[in-house]
Symmetry: C2
Subunit: 261 residues, 2 copies
DNA sequence: CGGCTTGTTGACCTAATTCAACCACGGTGG
DNA sequence: CCACCGTGGTTGAATTAGGTCAACAAGCCG
């Protein structure tokens, strides 16, 4: 039942070539353990998707505390998760890129402790929890891969705790962009450390625990020091090595596949 | 395996009564969904434990990046998880109380992105991943309960992100103690909001993203305002309602069982 | 055109850090 | 027994990172 197909490390770019590249879920765990899923499991997961739909920017997909019996897989676009304080100030707790199973944790939990919303336009796939439960009865290993994917979120949460607890403003912003860059790279969407990210400076503030004003000043510093620029949703990282040092970015928490030299 | 009849000291209140109160894992998910586990599943989980051992205070149990094939269940005492920044400053990412499956995420992940260490003396139970995998083949629902327990950690991580991102020093410390209090209450170990917690002020600083000095001043304020006191590892919460308001503590993220009125 | 959102900058303020000194306590060794 | 030391806690004074408030500019859209 386990690892029916022996797959060996390949260069990252080829890694993106799935044997069945037309799968809707082809980016799931891409670059971070997808090769541990058998062909059979990939097909089974893809089959389990109920339907797909497109969601406009800034729409709430799941409200906190609402009971849910489906989970959302992100096909394209960006989704975020956030919580509010008493006065309604937001704290982002996650940003999702294509290939992420955004709220798979709703499957065992049945309700969420936070909201889920799109950033730009997003295309999502819906999975019924009943279908997933059935999948789990027949395929314990696939179930463990799904479990694993929720634990990657957990690892990112921990890194966000670290970011907020131990880094200053410059480090926090740098770390944030390093993470997004690394995750996009794993799915082949960070071409030469450039990508678009439909966030405002206010959003960035909500992710990094700063104010909008201070994010603005921090971005200016990063720009002036030649590290990176972020203008109307377009990111260009000019010196990824230095940016990583500023953000104390150590990507092992992303559990990426060993990259071929 | 473990002698189920050799029960352990059991100072638990009545609401905690399990049908088999002598189980080593009797506190697992206690107060937060344990009733969704069948009698059969409880026994199976308890049987799956390989052995138990006692660990001295301030000992590292698992090092980051080390490959592991066992996971640790906390029977009694406290355990924390933390990460270090470049200069070696720690950031706590979790504090564990009895009944927590501390590093169950190592089962699907195989290595951890952080260290795991005891705070005071702790008694732990060891589970082989092979045994857990076998358990999963036969019992998909139990596996989902284990999955669920790792997601509770995830929810706490999110709340820690919120705490660091949106609260000031007073709120952060208040929130921290509210969480520990609530979790201990769920396992019957927060008698009238008093409990001991083997932390130093420096540890508290590492959990709340503050400096030791500032934690000291913050604790003084909490004491002076009659909210709570924390002295040599002894916590006394005098006004839980007000403390909760100060820390913007909303315990639904702990997914506790609905408390009878 | 006017009204909205997002970004930008300056002046001022405050929360938290840093640095430093000092105290209380529980060992441990002479 | 006490002197000594290390750890953890406490406090004050000086410093700084970041927040707050406010004004204004740039783009976008009805």
């Amino acid at each position: 039942m386990v690892d029916r197909l022996a797959s060996y490390p390949r260069p990252l770019v080829t890694e993106l070539e799935d044997s069945t590249p037309s799968l809707v879920t082809r980016l799931f765990l891409c670059g971070r353990g997808r090769d541990r899923m058998s062909e059979d499991e990939r097909l089974a997961l893809d089959d389990a998707m109920d339907y797909r739909r497109t969601v406009e920017p800034r729409q709430i997909i799941v409200h906190r505390d609402e009971l849910v019996n489906v989970s959302t897989y992100l096909i394209s676009g960006y989704i975020c998760r956030y919580m509010d304080d008493r006065e309604g100030h937001r704290q982002l707790v996650a940003v999702h890129v294509p290939g992420d199973f955004v709220d798979l944790h709703a499957f065992p939990m049945k309700r969420l402790d936070h909201d889920v919303a799109t950033l730009g336009v997003a295309e999502i796939g819906i999975f019924q929890h009943d279908t997933l439960a059935a999948l789990g009865r027949d395929r314990p290993h696939l179930m463990r891969m799904l479990w694993y994917s929720t634990l990657l979120d957990s690892a990112m949460h921990r890194e966000w705790i670290f970011r907020l607890g131990r880094l200053g403003a410059l480090g926090r912003v740098a770390h944030f962009f390093c993470e997004i860059d690394a995750r996009l790279a794993m799915i082949g969407q960070a071409d030469d450390h450039r990508f678009s990210l439909p966030l405002t400076q206010a959003d960035l503030a909500e992710a990094t625990g700063l104010t909008g004003v201070h994010v603005n000043r921090t971005l200016r510093r990063l720009r002036e020091e030649g590290l990176m620029s972020f203008r109307n949703g377009e990111v260009e990282i000019h010196d990824i090595a230095r940016l990583g040092r500023v953000g104390e970015f150590e990507p092992n928490y992303l559990y990426g596949d060993p990259v071929a030299a």
